[in-house]
């Protein structure tokens, strides 16, 4: 029975993806993409990867959707694109089908006693007294990847800010929508924001033992921030605002500080003090969540507008 549900879900996923790829116009493609993202979240739940499902829906289709819709609104009517070579579409379709078929064969040919690291994780997890193995891998076993991934997030914001014509990157980004927010969205912002923040903090706290964690709560908090901005409840924060920048640096450099502290306590970089692992991990997670929330929100808000211009 569940296989049937999976089959239908896969079919819907495929249709969604084709919808995204095949439509020429930008807006329907983005809307199809958001729908496809939600279906993808469902697929992750079916694959027993609830953390990933949360991340996919919150970041993969949620905030990405906002960014893409913002882009569609900013793009002028696309000029008559020069007609692509007539042979391009059939050739591309042929290559796409060939690659998909080859990959399918490869997936089918994966070795039967599937090689896995689950046993190693199970062996090493109790030492960190974390319940959720994914958080364990993210913050303890492969902590270097997560640390550098935070730097990637930080860099992409620096990249977005570098695009502003205001050289000092101190100004305030342009508001998301030029006209004032309609009343219902202001109402929604006022009502939903506190609940959302609560849900975000819950996700953060539950992350140690159950699905959840820094990324997902950061995304939810960022969404709530954006909702407040779009509902004109709070002003768009200026790029030069000192506390904002400190929050942004808290994630990557807080984690780095803990990593260096690991030398003193656990004798190895990014090692956690034996006995107090959980406390330190939670502290790191809080720092990461704050910086993710701020960075994601600022990325969506875009580069600071020029000083003179509104």
């Amino acid at each position: 029975m569940s296989l049937l549900f999976d089959a239908v879900l896969c079919l819907l996923l495929l249709l969604g993806a084709l919808g995204v790829v095949a439509t020429g116009a930008a807006r329907p493609a983005v809307i199809a993409f958001i729908g496809y993202g939600l279906l993808l979240g469902l697929a992750w739940v079916r694959l027993d990867a609830v953390d990933v499902a949360l991340t996919e829906i919150a970041i993969g289709s949620g905030i990405s959707g906002v960014v893409l819709l913002h882009c569609v609104r900013a793009l002028p009517a696309p000029p008559r694109a020069p007609a692509a070579h007539p042979m391009l579409r059939p050739l591309a379709a042929a290559i796409a089908v060939a690659i998909a078929a080859a990959l399918a064969l490869a997936v089918l040919a994966l070795p039967e006693p599937a090689p896995t690291r689950a046993a190693d994780v199970a062996a090493a997890l109790p030492a960190t007294d974390l319940g959720n193995p994914v958080t364990g891998v993210l913050l303890v076993f492969r902590a270097l990847d997560t640390l550098l991934e935070k730097v990637v997030l930080f860099l992409s914001l620096v990249g977005v800010w570098a695009l502003s014509r205001d050289p000092a990157c101190r100004g305030r980004p342009a508001p998301l929508s030029p006209e004032p927010a309609p009343a219902p969205s202001a109402f929604l912002a006022r009502v939903l924001a506190p609940i959302g923040v609560l849900v975000g903090l819950y996700l953060l706290w539950a992350g140690a033992d159950h699905p959840g964690g820094a990324f997902q709560s950061g995304a939810v908090l960022a969404a709530m921030g954006l909702l407040l901005v779009m509902g004109d409840q709070i002003r768009v924060p200026a790029a030069g605002n000192r506390s904002l920048r400190l929050l942004m640096l808290a994630g990557p450099f807080g984690f780095l500080a803990v990593g260096f502290a690991g030398w003193a306590t656990a004798g190895v970089f990014l090692g956690y003090p034996p006995g107090a692992e959980k406390a330190v991990i939670i502290a790191v997670e809080v720092a990461i969540t704050l910086s993710i929330a701020v960075t994601l929100a600022l990325i969506v808000l875009g580069p600071p507008a020029d000083e003179g211009r509104s």
Binding site: L91, I95, A98, I99, A102
Partner: protein, 572 residues
Amino acid sequence: MTGDALPPPLDLSGLAPAMPVLSETLMVVAIALPLALAFGALVPAVRRVLPHLLVFVPLPALIAALAVPRGLSVLVAPDPFRFTLALDAPGALLLGGAALLWMTASAYAMAYLRKDPARPAFIVWWLLTMAGSFAVFLVADVASFYLAYALVSFSAYGLAAHDDTVEARRAGALYLALTVLGEALLIAAFVMLASGPADANPQIRDAVALLPASPWKTPILLLILLGFTLKMGLFPLHVWMPLAHSVAPVPGSAALSGIVVKAGVIGLLRFLPEGVPLPGWGALLCGAGLFTAYYGVAVGLTQRHPKRALAYSTVSQMGVVAAVIGAGIMNGTAGTFTIAAFYAANHMLLKGAMFLMVGVAMAASPRRALAAAAVAALLGLSLAGLPLSGGAMAKYAIKLIVPDGGAGVLLTLSAAGSTLLMARYALLVARSGTENQKTEGKEMQGRPPRGLVLPALALAVLALFAPFALFAEVTGVPVSAAFTAAALVKGFWPVGLGLGVAALLAWKGPRVPEVPAGDILHAAGFLSATGRTIMEGTVAADAVLRRWPVAALALLGVAVSLAATLTFAAMP
């Protein structure tokens, strides 16, 4: 007959105890002095005093050529680089000749370019070419030879393209293109050569000794011949020489035609095995040399400008040198290289003097130009081998190498040809005095400045009499042997024949149209056309390749083809 263990002509045995250290430092200073001054030119103070110093810079090289015992070598840099210098007979002859030409041409250049604003730049290129030329004659290991050869070739561009006219830029570009081609050919040959002996940067002598046994003997010899004959200007690789020599200022073309061309000669002398008969290659080189000798004369006769006539004369004379070397290595006769170097040195001095005389004539009134033409004629005849002149000594010496068979006859006949060309050159020099005497704008009505005349005459005297001093030492035969009645007659008939034909042609010869410089280059115009179409095609293909869909398809194509090949390979 001759060999390396030759007593140096200038016997400084009096300084016996300091002898090895002195001669080693002499060799190093010969190269280091011009190089240091070239970089010193960056400092304005040095730049001001340089013009007066220029004459004395080649002095250490001259003394080294005369005093340093043959076969002495000095290690300049420690082992991994092994920058070694060594002096042998051919090297010494060419080094001495070059030093003399550099000294006189330097004095001449300073007077010739007195009012030229770009003189400091010319001086820097002049010093770099000088350093490169001394280095190329002295250096003994493969990598350093390549460095010296590159230095002399690329800095000679500065001399050629000094006047910066449109034609000079075109000639300079062609010169650079062919030089880079030559470098590529030679690096391939040197890499194959150097992989013979064990260590990475072997001595040239050891590498060449292993050449006959090396698996790549044919490609090495082919590349070496191509690379060095390109510099010597053998047909069909000579196209750049008439262009470059005619656009360069007079002292520049004297240096180019006299010394830079000899880098190709010393290259052949260093990198061809001596004493090992190479019949096939010898015949090829000799044939090409002879053909070039006649071809140079034929095209030279049609030229209207004395410098271009001299350029073709150099092409022809280098053909003769190549023929001598070819004949020598055909049956591996000993002493070939020293005599070939002797002939080349003689040509160096004579050709340098003749170019300087052209400058003097162009700066003189018609009456004085005739006097200059007389000296030029004398130099020309000496080059052609007129008995009792220095050139005759050289012609006699090469007769010792080339037997009296077919090649010998052709060689002597070429002397007649070059007499004809020299007569034509003298006629052009005489005429050149008249037309552009006004354009020079010299205020002293028609009297060429002393700064030009003195060095030219000094070089002319040297060119005429130096071979006598060196003949005995080079060939081991006493000078008097060349003065026997039979030798005199044998030397005279080609020159006489040449003069007779010249007189006949001058009297009622046909009006032959002038062949443009770089003759077959214009026939090869289609080469540049195809080159341009290839370039446009590539740029268009690049534009297509850089479109997004094409690049994305290319990326997937690469991934798929790589996966396919690896899967078939991985399949047991």
